[in-house]
């Protein structure tokens, strides 16, 4: 029986560029990701703390981490994970 990650919520520190819309669109371009929601928590001179909610069907966290790093963002913590059994 397969298990697939359906949803993850991440606490992320990112640079102010690229802007949130660009960042969210890039995340959404990853395979198996159906939707991305980003909420701004705190803003600094160079950085933004954001809560990133990713929904999909078989989200690969390593791909997400890699893409975030390529866009000047680091994951502080994984705050929530939803995994579903696929019969």
């Amino acid at each position: 029986m397969q298990r697939r990650v359906k949803r993850i919520v991440l606490d992320v520190l990112k640079l102010r560029e690229p802007p949130l819309t660009e960042f969210a669109s890039t995340l959404c371009s990853l395979p198996n990701i159906e939707g991305v929601k980003i909420s701004l928590i705190e803003i600094d001179q160079n950085t933004e703390s954001v809560k990133v909610t990713i929904e999909g069907n078989g989200i690969n966290l390593e791909d997400v981490k890699k893409l975030m790093k390529n866009h000047g963002a680091v994951i502080h913590s994984v705050d929530e994970v939803v995994v579903q059994k696929i019969p």
């Binding site: 520190l13 990112k14 640079l15 560029e17 690229p18 660009e22 600094d44 001179q45 160079n46 950085t47 790093k69 390529n70 866009h71 000047g72 963002a73 680091v74």
Partner: protein, 198 residues
Amino acid sequence: MESLSKIINRIKLYIEVTHIGDIARRYFVKNGMDGSMTVLGIILGSWVAKVEDPYVIVMAGFGACLAMGISGLFGAYITEKAERKRIIKDLEESILSDLDGSLQQNASEFVPTLTALVDGLSPSLTATISLIPFLISMVGLLSIWDSYVISTILTFATLFALGLYLGHVARERMWIYGLQMIAAGAVITLIVYALGGF
């Protein structure tokens, strides 16, 4: 190989991420003005000295704008590279992580080339506009004295256009900026004629 539209989108993203548009705009106008003013000085100096060979003016003009272009190319590249390295280090400290291979890093490597091209090509572009009448004169289609007049008018028109652009950037009355640029050219004209004992 990336398609042209992908390359253009990537360049747009790099410009957005690094905010280089403002800096490139300044480089363009400042060095464009430098190019026009330098060639104006050469043209007026040659006019006062009654130089009758357009080849002399063309070579002096292109020589000067080539020197400005090369100086701008290397100067802007090295300066911008140093600035970008500093910015990347500041950003790395902000997120306590390295940015190797990131969008920011790639953009910072591209940006010095873009600014160098703008800085290097803008004086060449404006200087070439001023030298066109002398190029026509070289092939015998225009007298040298007509070339002096047309070239001076073209140079002032270029300065005025740069001023208009600045006025557009400032979102103020464009013609005021245009007149200010013309005033700068007029100062050079007066000084050169005074030196020539006109």
